[in-house]
């Protein structure tokens, strides 16, 4: 490994004492409070801690405290990120205590969990932080032993100078090391020398989870804390009047009022989404009392006029118009069909698709659709806030604290250093917890009632609040020549309020005549990132279409894809192709080998798909059979290229989760609307995949290479929609174009 300049992450090496305000005192009292499990080693609490940098503290007894910077929503970053630190620090993982960092942008880089970017973007900073601390320990030993630093080696928390036969534990050198200057450059380990990375380590919170410890925002409680709940209007409506006379006199109720979460003229960022301009709030002593009072509120709604917001987006400042009106799924479908035949933006054009289609021997055109989806994290929206005249303490589930801190600061009229956000373990995120409306709501309520408050949504509030996965459509058209070569390809995608077309992704670059177009319709139903945004629809559409196209060309679906990718590799069309054909081919070949593709199983029919998104390549084969009208998934094989795998068993777990989640949404996921009201508001109506529908077996295989690691939270999710659709075709003889598929299966005449 080449040397790494420590300046890339310089602020991480500032000493705590130099920082004023905002910092939390570390508490290790929980260590002493843990009950000992027989046969398990318990780490001794050190008498003194020495901080080598913001991520790493070493106790005088050699115990190591590593900070996990990013919020944890289940992708296991709280284990895998410290593993990277521990690897470069060169300590025994058994001597490590991991602590969740608070949101502390002055000390940590990019405390954002989403976009499958945690490991990818922290890889170099964390390695550098670990290697820097290790070098400081070496330098301290070199001084004390009066030997050259270059002759000192480390192994699992021990320093050694072989020539003089000197040895010391990190704990013995930590005090001296903490006082040394931070080295300008350090040399991280060679990949081949890793001893922690690449070896499965258990979830550091595993024991706390299985014993029911308070880990989540919703578990938080403090003296004098009140409970708050909201009542919101349908989409497209606002509060006209509130009759709270009955609710107000109910037991335990402290106050009922309305709040405006964000001022009309507040310049929002893309994660400041609020679905409703004003909310009714009920505050009381206990959850049950507030829930009851909430039901007793009589609210009248009125139509919300069209309104305009200024938003700071990744693409710059823009004005967003939210249309008026009560929207329904039937209306959405009609307008989407209209739009599909109308104008669209050209996103990319190669060659002359129109003339190529005219001369093509065979042309295939198919349209795919998918509905809105609700995220349905198991932990409903909640947040604790305690806002006083001079500061705000916030504790809750949030993927993107950095996106909401300025908003909190502006809304509460407090300097942003006085807005202190602590990061609760999240009971699921899936993208929706990047949107911090609940932090603002909790804080505004706390400020109003002048008390610590925990805001809790009911499941119904959570499912009907918005920030959904958008509804999409895409029409694909392809032309083959007389030799079944792909000569023209076109995708025209649309959606509400965005389309899902990635114009430069495969199969762009594989065909001379190519056209990608997109259109979008505005809506007052709010949307947000949902596990693999846009890819979660377009992968299924594209890879189903390619399956049908391969069949039309009379080619094996894996061979057909590889043939196209060979073209992209050897004579690519265009310059901006957003994928590496070799790595794409790599996962296709690996899944072919691992699934024994050429020999179909006797008990099932199989479908294949491959997709590249969020920097990771995935190919998946689904084996399924029909039991009457019910698809039974026997087995799923996944081949994944995410570079170096940090924590293999946890990576497989994430892969299994993405696959099963994808199967569930492909078969059952759907949210529809009537007059601004979601048709489903709890799990009796919203069908989630359950134990019985889970595949009987899943194999996740990783391509072995030394590429820098990329993420896994999202990439295994999108392709399985197509693997399922393609397997369903083989099993039923029918193609499935409209998600969710289960309702079409149930209507099919194959019913037994």
């Amino acid at each position: 490994m080449t040397q790494s300049k420590t300046t890339i992450n310089r602020r991480s090496f500032l000493k705590v004492s130099a920082l004023a305000g905002g910092g939390m005192m570390l508490s290790f009292s929980w260590l002493a409070g843990c009950k000992q499990i027989p046969g398990e080693e318990i780490l001794e609490v050190p008498g003194e801690w020495f901080e080598l940098n913001n991520y790493i503290k070493i106790g005088n007894n050699g115990v190591v405290n590593l900070m996990s910077p990013n919020p944890e929503f289940g992708s296991n970053v709280k284990t895998s990120m410290p593993m990277i630190l521990a690897e470069e620090l060169d300590v025994d993982w058994k001597n490590v205590i991991v602590e969740q960092a608070d949101f502390y942008p002055e000390r940590f880089d990019r405390q954002f969990t989403g976009g499958s970017q945690g490991i990818r973007q922290a890889w170099k900073p964390l390695r550098t932080a670990g290697a820097t601390a290790r070098q400081m320990l070496i330098n301290a030993a070199a001084r004390q032993w009066n030997v050259p630093a270059g002759e000192i080696t480390t192994t699992a928390g021990m320093l050694q100078h072989e020539l003089s036969n000197k040895k010391a534990g990190y704990g013995e050198m930590a005090s001296a090391a903490a006082g040394l200057p931070v080295p300008e450059v350090v040399t991280p380990k060679n990949v081949g020398d890793f001893t922690i990375i690449g070896k499965s380590q258990k979830n550091v919170d595993g024991k706390n989870i299985v014993t029911g410890k308070p880990l989540f925002g919703i578990d938080y409680k403090t003296d004098g804390m009140l409970i708050a709940m909201i009542v919101h209007p349908p989409f497209g409506m606002k509060i006209k009047s509130v009759d709270d006379s009955a609710a107000r006199s109910m037991p335990g109720i402290k106050d009922i009022f309305t709040i405006v979460p964000l001022a009309d003229d507040y310049e929002r960022n893309g994660f400041d989404t609020t679905s409703f301009l004003e909310l009714i709030v009920v505050v009381g002593n206990t959850t049950w009392e507030v829930m009851n009072a909430k039901k007793a509120i009589k609210a009248e709604w009125e139509l919300m006029p069209e309104y305009t917001m200024v938003m700071q987006t990744f693409q710059g400042k823009r004005t967003v118009i939210t249309p008026k009106g009560l929207e329904s799924t039937d209306g959405h479908k009609e307008r989407m069909i209209e739009m599909s035949g109308g104008k669209a933006d050209v996103l990319r054009k190669d060659g002359n698709p129109a003339s190529a289609f005219k001369t093509a021997s065979k042309v295939l055109e198919r349209t795919y659709t998918a509905p809105y989806l609700a995220h349905n994290t198991m932990e409903p929206v909640n947040c604790f806030a305690h806002v006083t005249s001079d500061k705000a303490e916030i504790y809750g589930p949030i993927q993107a604290p950095d996106f909401i801190r300025n908003t909190l600061s502006a809304r509460l009229a407090l300097p942003k250093e006085k807005v202190h956000i602590r990061l609760a373990r999240m009971g699921g995120g899936f993208g929706v917890r990047a949107y911090g409306h609940h932090l603002v709501e909790a804080a505004v309520i706390s400020q109003k009632v002048n008390a610590p408050v925990k805001l809790v949504y009911t499941r119904e509030d959570d499912m009907t609040y918005g920030i959904y996965r958008p509804t999409y459509t895409a029409t694909y058209k392809a032309g083959l020549d007389a030799n079944n070569n792909l000569v023209a390809f076109q995708v025209r995608g649309g959606g509400i309020p965005e389309h899902a077309v990635h114009a430069n992704r495969f199969p762009a670059g594989t065909v001379d005549n190519y056209l990608a177009e997109g259109w979008a319709l505005a809506s007052n139903i709010t949307i947000g990132a949902f596990r693999a945004p846009r890819s979660n629809f377009i992968a299924g559409a594209e890879q189903s279409f390619l399956d049908e196209l391969a069949e039309l060309a009379g080619k094996d679906p894996i061979d057909f894809r590889i043939e196209l990718l060979e073209r992209a590799k050897n004579s690519p069309v265009g310059k901006d192709n957003d994928y590496d054909p070799d790595r794409y081919i790599g996962v296709l070949k690996l899944v072919r080998e691992k699934s024994n593709w050429d020999q179909s199983p006797s008990n099932a029919k199989r479908g294949v798909a491959a997709y590249f998104c969020h920097n990771t390549y995935v190919a998946e084969v689904v084996d399924l059979r029909m039991d009457g009208n019910k698809p039974i998934v026997e087995k799923v094989y996944a081949a994944v290229d995410c570079g170096i795998v940090i924590n293999p068993d946890a990576a497989i777990n994430m892969g299994e989760g993405g696959i099963v989640d994808g199967i569930g949404n492909a078969l059952f996921g759907e949210l529809t609307f009537k007059n601004g009201v979601p048709d489903k508001n709890n799990f009796h109506q919203y069908r989630m995949i359950r134990q019985k529908e889970t595949p009987k077996e899943i194999e996740v295989h990783f391509v072995k290479n030394d590429q820098d690691p990329t993420g896994l939270g999202e990439p295994l999710f999108p392709p399985v929609f197509a693997s399922i659709a393609n397997a369903l075709y083989k099993a039923t003889g029918k193609r499935y174009y409209d998600q969710p598929f289960a309702k079409h299966l149930e209507l099919s005449p194959a019913k037994m």
Binding site: K35, I37, P38, G74, N76, K202, N203, D205, G206, K207, I209, V210, T211, G212, K213, P214, F216, I218, D219, K221, I227, P251, T286, T287, W288, E289, M291, N376, T377, M378, E379, P380, M426, G427, G428, G429, V456, T458, R459, A650, N653, M654, E656, G657, I659, V660, D661, G664, N682, F683, H684, M688, I689, R690, Q691, K692, T694, P695, E697, I698
Partner: protein
């Protein structure tokens, strides 16, 4: 309000509370036992599963008046040291992703194994089908139950 006699995790106490209050909120708000989770409030997701006289029940729709003088066990009381076979198996298989539903999954699994010490696949799927895991760790849940049955 009424004085209700409770026996939760072996601890007997009397609580003055609205007898209609669901056990879930008594546990979470009054007894500070927050391991039992709120998921849906209508017995559809299983996150709130506890044991009442040894049976797995959904605490979110069970009025506290119904557990008077019954033995209630929550995830916090499943074992003294977090070493119930199901808890050990969950760690061995590193089941959890976000972890929110897992207390409910574990309580359902523990009740299943008490009634059926060596369940087959179908019995496991039947017993566990009421517990949603949004992270979809279902395969590991099934595998962990089989492991727990062998301890």
């Amino acid at each position: 309000m009424a004085a209700i006699n409770l026996n939760v995790n072996g601890k007997k106490q009397t609580l003055d509370v609205d007898p209609k209050t669901p056990v879930l909120w008594v546990l979470r708000d009054h007894l500070d036992l927050v391991g039992t989770k709120f998921g849906c409030g209508m017995a559809q997701c299983g996150a709130c599963t506890i044991h009442v006289d040894g049976n797995a029940v959904r605490s979110c729709i069970l009025p506290v008046s119904q557990i008077e003088n019954k033995e209630v066990v929550t995830i916090e009381g499943l074992s003294e040291a977090g070493d119930h076979p199901v808890q050990k198996a969950w760690l061995e298989h590193d089941v959890a992703q976000c972890g929110y539903c897992q207390a409910g999954q574990i309580m359902t699994a523990a009740a299943l194994l008490k009634a059926t010490p060596h369940p087959g696949d179908e019995e496991i799927m039947d017993a566990m089908n009421g517990n949603i895991c949004r992270c979809a760790t279902y395969l590991r849940i099934k595998a962990a139950i089989k492991t727990a049955a062998k301890y």
